[in-house]
Symmetry: C2
Subunit: 248 residues, 2 copies
Amino acid sequence: ASFSSSSSSTLLFRQLFEKESSTYTYLLADASHPQKPALLIDPVDRTVDRDLSLIEQLGLKLVYAMNTHVHADHVTGTGLIKSKVPDVKSVISKASGATADLYVEPGDKVYFGNLFLEIRATPGHTKGCVTYVTGDTPGQPRMAFTGDTLLIRGCGRTDFQGGSSEQLYESVHSQIFTLPKNTLIFPAHDYKGFTVSTVGEEMQYNPRLTKDVETFKNIMANLNLSYPKMIDVAVPANMVCGIQSKTS
Amino acid sequence: ASFSSSSSSTLLFRQLFEKESSTYTYLLADASHPQKPALLIDPVDRTVDRDLSLIEQLGLKLVYAMNTHVHADHVTGTGLIKSKVPDVKSVISKASGATADLYVEPGDKVYFGNLFLEIRATPGHTKGCVTYVTGDTPGQPRMAFTGDTLLIRGCGRTDFQGGSSEQLYESVHSQIFTLPKNTLIFPAHDYKGFTVSTVGEEMQYNPRLTKDVETFKNIMANLNLSYPKMIDVAVPANMVCGIQSKTS
Ligand SMILES: [Fe+2]
Ligand SMILES: [Fe+2]
């Protein structure tokens, strides 16, 4: 889908789904820039070939492969992408502690052509989680790529990887619910077949984050979730962009 | 997501996914109309509660539950929806031979508020397949809900339910590929995690429909697909909106 903007930049946008881990990968590009620079948010190793083939067919130049955080449920595609398209730069937050080509901090902007994503720190699911937010284009809703911080009618667990339910609550309320209500919420996962939500909808209907902080902390402390199947493989791999050096 | 239009109507749009059958259901509404009239395209029986709950939260009034065709891989949600929301009217093409409250024919328009879907006959996957196309709004790409006629980089099988590969080829080329190239393609299924394509993309990259008609017929005749698991349950049920009378 493409959305025209008044600044004569055209955002090309695609949402892509990886079924095994129910992960959404997002492709964004400045389609009106001569080079059509593009970025991927939260690519998955298993779907890298699909994503790169789409990027090639659309005539885009992939510049960044970014993660919202160090994932525990799948191996990121960033390392594999770099091995196939050497000019691509991997991006993650400085606070994640992971290795990448480019580290982002709150308030930074990552430009692709004349468009950009602004970085907001939203720790709580992990200590290094960030939300990527598109710029303000008159007549178009903003988009927030919230990772596992805010899911549609849900949120990520807070019992691993430096997680903190209190911090997640504060992150969502101060960094996401302060965006315009028509801001589109694009999470890293959905398990019920939803593809998008809005800030206004989650402020009204999120069954966890509409509660007060103490109730929220109680909910999160009593989820009784099982140990994530892939965490012991995925987290060490994702700390180094998904590809571990053979000598380590 | 909502898209503003110059006629002061605002299309509210949601794509919803049912994982077991990899089916997409689409929710459209005129969000600027006082009643917020809405319709669902290709609802699935298993996800009716999810869809109705979303419709309620968004404050929409569901008017139509429509199918692109008589599905063979899942039971439609239309009958169940009617039993839960009695005012809803089921919609299917006259050519399908199925029972519904409202039968549509090529060129008809189904209005929801000030917005509408235009019906295009696209037989070939089944004899009664139609494509629903949104109206022309300046500055916004049109949307085509293609059912199983045109899938992203694929198409529906043509070996059951009055299917014909020659007819499918003709339908896609005369009814879909004649739409503006930036028209968004929203299919009834995707098995690789794609959520949307465009007419221009499929005209250039669809591995089947870019071929000449004889090559296409050959491809379709040699797919060696297995007998659809659910066809003997789903088709009779879907001929009557998913709910068979207890006395029959
Ligand atoms: Fe995560
Ligand atoms: Fe079908």
